[in-house]
Assembly symmetry: C4
Homo-oligomer: 291 residues x 4
């Protein structure tokens, strides 16, 4: 997950802006980038509501009946959000010390894509249904990612997921290889039958993945007795495989809890740290830790 | 989960009711609010059976064939339960020291809603099918919540859920944001096709949530090859996300278990720690631990 | 799960059978009840194969095409198994010291039900399709439970399930109460619509349980937008509830592992046990443990 | 999972090949079997891409439209992969010290099956649709197993699964026995009804397994009220059973984590244990641990 606007640099260097025009810029900077001042907090919360509201408007607009009935309201909301996000985007570029870095950052691109398709849509006539424009406009849904930073504890889950990235990759590959083999076997068994839904290996692999993860839509289903038997075995084996990531996460959580038993203090003699809470002497040089 | 009738205050202050009329009130109070006396236990168990029976009657009444066939019995049961719960409600108001606090408490409202719609229904003619009355009557199903307090160990789960409320909120938000993005992508990929079930973004998000949580009804299903590919990736990614809450709960349970049996105190003689809760002498040097 | 034939008593008292006829009985007893002697092991394995084969025959017989085609073979197999299990049943009654206790034990009833319906079926003509007889004959499937005792490690899972019985009850009740409330809400929201599948509260509760446990058959499905929204919330909330039993089991497994850190030796001074592995002095009386 | 080509022997004995012709063989051996030299690494990565590409080609070929449209390209790809894998197979036989051991090893058979069906298919005319040939050709999908060895961390999962093999067997048997009983009960309840999908016990057991593992395709579904009630109970009970393997894996992971960082040795001075693996001095009394 990319970091928030990579504004750590401007933050530290900001006090150096001290021209008379810089005072106004400084004030704006505090409002937009900082969350400690009252004005900054108000701006943050207002932005969150704007993002939430704009995402809901895009959702509602996709419902045909709603789109027809409240056409004028949606055009109005569209203009409001587009102008607001454009203003925010331009202000961020103006205020940030290294604009290009922001523009090409993940959130910079998300911010840009939040405004541009709105203008294209509004100018080209709101009724035009060019697939490309519609698709680009939906990219505004990615603004929802900006809300992640504001959820307390989200960093714990993100860090947790990042820490077990390697394990998740292994798990992905394991499930994929198992699904490829199981899907092929299902294709061999089921494909010949009349009215069979296993028309190709990729669809059989889709069936295998949907079965192993216990989703089971039921859009593709085994018809023959042998196919049902293999499905039953596959589902049970898949369950054993899929119990592993849950176990890994649980194990990591406990291990993390156990390391809270170690102090962060270093030994005054040799500088080694990671001592257990009840340690009196350094485990490396034998020196008294309180000395 | 709200606490049981918030009757902790009356319970402590009760001995002060000692007028001659108060003796009868006192007796009733013991029956209705206390579970230690034989009469109180009988009342509690009778109430549980009444709640269970009334909930089952409401359920059966909703089955059209049953409702027609046993119409008279259901009217009779309706009267019995309504009168019984009204009596209980009035007694509770009379006995509790601070009636208004009870009336506006969660269970007070549930108790009131257990009686009133019954009268409206019975008086307005049991055949009237005004949607509002039917809906209000079904609120009596909330009486089932009163049974929670009588399940041994329920408080453990409730406390566990309350303790990890923050984590559950984060998890909810994470799944929602992931579902919004995945749903939007599915909408872009699938919506154009003929006969597609992805008619709007909200339905696509519903599909994403149903897929990520591995429910997979199959009422909305990807038709295109690309949609199936994205679904497979989404389901696998979702599984990794969803392993987290299980891991968190497991980790919390283990952490709790680890710190429950051993004290954190060290032996005054040799400094060894990790003594069992009931230890009197140090297991290493034999010294008295309280010295 | 009931214990294996409650044959602990006869086993201990067996050496006392020492008449000359008792020698033959003793020999048979060893074959049927003991697994240490070669003959006993052969009998055990043969019985397992017989049970497995008889269960498979019952399964195959239920397939209409198979039943017609291999009618004669099935009648033959039926006679073989019925006679074999009758013989085993009679021998067990004859050999066991307290026959009535065996007859009314769980496995005694299972053994009886393994033979009787076979005779009724075979004598009344194998083509008679009286529902009662068919149902009774299927009770023979319960013989499969006899295989549990022969799976190594099965006792660990059974003991684990027994230990967390209280927690599982709580979990059951919690899910049920949640499902009753969620089902009622779904019924209120969905039942009015034309073509709705939520025709009664019990079906709505069935829908809620199938959704909360992430099974999601898709036979009952929300049609309205509000119903889909409530379903999404219910599924997510249900997932949080359902993460709890997994966490509890994991926690119990770890706790069990931790108690392996305690010795089973008692203190020579005061008889207290449950000392940690590294304990030198008793934690209760301070006496040296090796004394 | 079988080990990679069982080439540990040749690797150790290889330096002894030192004839002038052996120099070339030695060079080839390094390229094909070793991953440390640059040429070896290039070969490994090229092989991985070849396997991946050939698996994708087999998948695409199974899609009827694709197969017709890109017929010539697929024939060309088929020839390329078949020749490449034949070359690799022959080289491996020539280079390995004990060719027969390789030929009859798991990967040897997979390698052989990767080439032979290709020739049969290409020579007999690519349009022939003999079921046997098609099935044999799909065996090439097993080449995907060769990718397992190249996934970092895969060995952890494989070892984890191997370690809990006994537990997984127990779990399999437990679910099977429960599914057999639940399926039989469902068959008794549902089979009589008109239009019922429970046409035989095996299909009912399939329904039970699909329900217990929370897959729930919805192709077989309970129609009667009693069937729905039993399904709800079965799903809940099944969930309790199925929480066990996840708990076991989690418990094993934690246990492993707990015993990894601390030694079981006690300090020779004061007897304290639970020292970190890198400890040289006791954390309690400062004495040297090796004394």
């Amino acid at each position: 997950m990319p970091d928030q606007h990579s504004n750590s640099d401007p933050e530290r260097e900001n006090p150096h802006h001290s021209s008379h025009r810089g005072n106004f810029k400084q004030r704006l900077w505090e409002i937009i980038f900082e969350a400690e001042t009252p004005a900054g907090r108000v701006f943050d919360i207002a932005l969150l509501w704007f993002i939430g509201a704009s995402v809901i408007v895009v959702m509602l607009e996709s419902i045909p009946e709603f789109s027809k009935k409240y056409h004028d309201f949606l055009i109005f909301a569209e203009w409001t959000f587009t102008i607001a996000f454009t203003l925010e985007y331009l202000l961020r570029i103006w205020l940030v010390r290294r604009p290009w870095k922001y523009i090409f950052s993940f959130y910079g691109v998300v911010d840009l894509l939040s405004c541009v398709p709105g203008y294209v849509y509004l100018i080209s006539g709101a009724n035009s249904h060019f697939a490309v424009i519609r698709t680009l406009r939906l990219l505004r849904m990615f603004r929802v990612l900006k809300m992640v930073g504001h959820v307390r504890g989200a960093d714990v889950i993100l860090r947790g997921l990042a820490a077990s990235r390697a394990k998740i990759t292994v798990f992905f590959t394991a499930v994929l290889i198992f699904a490829i083999l199981a899907g092929t076997v299902m294709y061999v068994v089921e494909s010949g039958k009349e009215g069979s839904q296993f028309t190709s290996i990729p669809i059989s692999i889709y069936y295998a993945i949907v079965s192993i993860t216990t989703v089971g839509y039921g859009d593709v289903v085994a018809c023959s007795a042998l196919g049902k038997l293999i499905t039953a075995l596959m589902v049970l084996t898949g369950y054993a495989i899929i119990a592993v990531p849950t176990g890994i996460v649980a194990g990591d959580m406990v291990r993390e809890a156990m390391y809270k038993d170690e102090t962060t203090d270093a030994c005054p003699g040799c500088g080694v740290h990671g001592h257990l809470r009840d340690a009196i002497y350094c485990r490396k040089c034998g020196e008294h830790l309180d000395a």
